[in-house]
Amino acid sequence: MRALRLAVLISGARHPLTQRPQRSDRDARALELALRQDHQEMTVIHAGSASEPFLPLYLGMGVPFIEVVPCPDTHDPFDALLFRLAALQPDIILCGALGSKPSSQGLLPYRLAHHLNLPIAEQIAEIAASDNGIDLIQAEQGGRRRRLRTSRSLIVTVGSAGPPPRLSAFAKRRDGHVVTLTQPVETRAFKQSIDFRPGKRPSSAARLQWTARPEDRLAAVTGAGSRRDTTVKATTPDEAAAFLLDWLAERGLRS
C-alpha cells in the first residue's frame, strides 16, 4: 500500500434559502474521500481570496492548512489552479463534480485533465490504493457501481455518491490556518458569460407539445399532474396481487 500524494480542490457555496456561506457538498465529499486515504501528503487548494467565510468550515474537517491561490472573483480560477497543480504534481487530484454557481457545468476538472495530460474518472464513490495501482468505484445512474483501476496519476471527480462529509468542528477549525500563495498568478476573466435569471420554470405544457401522449398534455395544462388514475377497491389480496403485477408489467418492471 503506497502512500499517496493528494490534492483537493475546494470552493464555497451558499445555502439556497438563507444564502449563508457553507461548504460545497460535493467538494466536502471529495475532501472526506481524501481524508479517508492513507496519504503521505495532502494539499487542499482554493482559488480565490483567503478571507472567504467558508474556508474555516473546511479547516474544521481536520485539515491542517488550506492553500489559497489569489484569483479575483470575476476571473476564471482555471489558470490559478493549473499553475499550482503543475508545480505540485500530486498522485490524485480530487474535486467536486459540479460547482455551486448557476453557471457551473463541471468543465473545470476536464480542462485541468486536458492541460495536465491526466486521465479523469468522474463520479467516484470510493478509492483504494494498492500495490497494483489505484482502485476506484464509480457511481452510475440507478445505483449501479463500476470498478475501475489505474496505475498512473489521475483527476477524480466526486458527486453526490461520495462519502458523507464529516462535521466541521470548532477546535479543529481553530487549529488550522489558511496560507496564501505569494507568487503572483496571471488569471483571465471568464470566457463564456452565463446568466442566471430567477423565475418560473417553463411550463411543461410547452415542452410536451408534440411528443407526449394526450393524457400527459392534458395533465400538464390543467396542472393536475399524473394523480389519481384509478382506485381499485380490491376485495381479496389475490385480486390486488394480480393488479399490482399487471401494473408493474405495464411499466416494464415485472420480473
Partner: protein, 421 residues
Amino acid sequence: MSRNHARTHIDLAALFVAREALGKRADPRGMRRVAMRAADTGSLRPRYDLAVMQGLRVKFGRRRDPFKIRFAGKPSVGGDLELFTLRSMIKTEADCAPRQQYRAVQLIEGPDRYILVVTEQTSDGPTDADRESLAAARLLARTGTAIAVMTPFVNEEAWGAAGADRIVVTSSLSDRFENSLDWAKLVAVMEVLQPEHLLLPSSPACNHAALRIAAATDSDLFLDADQIGTSEVARTWQHGMVSSRPTRIMTLKRGCAAPDRTQCFEGRVLDVPVTPVERLESELEDFGLIQTDVRFLPLAEAEFIVAVGAGVKNISALCQLADRLGATIGATRVVCDNGALPRDRQVGASGTIVRANIYVALGISGAVQHLQGIESCRDLIAINIDAYAPIMRRANVALVTDADKMISAVLSRLGETTCAP
C-alpha cells in the same frame, strides 16, 4: 341505345359513377333533367339548358371544364348522348386519385459551415430525439450552413426527411464513450469539418463526451439545454433559468425543439477524410459493473422502491418480494424505530427524499413527513387496509386490502412460497 330515341333511359350506372367520382351526392333529378333536355331537342345539334347546367355547377360547387360543358350533349363518336353528358362531368380516374404529397427537397451545395449533430446511435433510424436535435440545429443554422448528422444508420431519405443535409457515417459510438476510440473519432471528425456547433443528446455518457471535447478543443459548452432559440439557450437551475448565447458544444434535453415535418432535406452521405484512429490504450481499466444487491441500494439513487410501514409484519417476506421484483427496500420511521430495518432505509423528511419512478407503499398510512419524502416520485401505488389513509389520496392507484396477505399472494403468483417472519 341510339341517339334517335326521343326518350332515352338514364344510364344509372353512369349516374352512379358520376356521383362517386364527383364525391358529392348528385341530385339524380337534376342529372335526369339535363339528359332529358338534351334528348328532347332530338336534333343532331342539341342545345343545352344553361340554367340547368349553371344549377348543376353551383350544386356541385366545382368549376367545370367549360369546354366540356359547352359540348355537353354533343354525342361523341360511338357514345351515347346522355352518357356523354354525364361523363363530361365526371372526372377521370386519374383526377380522382389522391394527389401525391411531394415535398420540395431543399438542397445546399458547397456549404460555408456545418453543424454536427450526434444521434442516439441506434441502428434503426432517426428517433424522435434525433429529430428534435436536428430541429434545434435548424434553428441555429444560417444560410449556407449544412447540418451533418453522425450516425451508423445510412438512409438518405430517412435522414433527409428528419432534417439532415449531410450524413457522416460512423460505426456505432459506444454507450459509455469510455472507449477512447469513440470520442477521439468524434474529435477527428470535428477537426476536419470544423463545425460551428456540435449538438448531442443529454445523457450521462454524452455529457461526459461533451465535457471532454470542450476541454480538448477549448470551446464553450452548455449542458442539459431545456430551451433553445436562435440567440439564446437555457436550462433550469434551482428556482430559475440559466441562459447563455448558443455555445459551440451543446447537449439537449428532450423536448427543447419541435421538429418541422413539412420540410425535407437532402441527407447526402458526406465523405469525411478522417485519419484512421487506432485503438488507444485506455487510461482507466474497466472491470465492469459490480454486483450490488438491488434491495439495499442507496435510496436517493433508486428508481424502483417497495416501502413498508407499520401495516406489514412479515419483513422477511417483503425482502423476498423485493428480491424477486428487483426493487429497493424502503421503510417508514416507525419500522426503522422498531429495528425491523436499518435507519438508512428510512424514507421521509428526516430520512431520505426519494425520486423514484415507481414507489410501492405497503401498509403505509402516509404521515406528512413521509409524503414529503415521496413528493417527487412519479408513479405511486398504495396498499392499505384503510381506504381513508392520507396516502390513498396522494397515490396514483390505491388498493384497499391487507398488505401482508397481498405480499403472500404476489409471491405465490410469482411461484414462490412465503417465508416465515
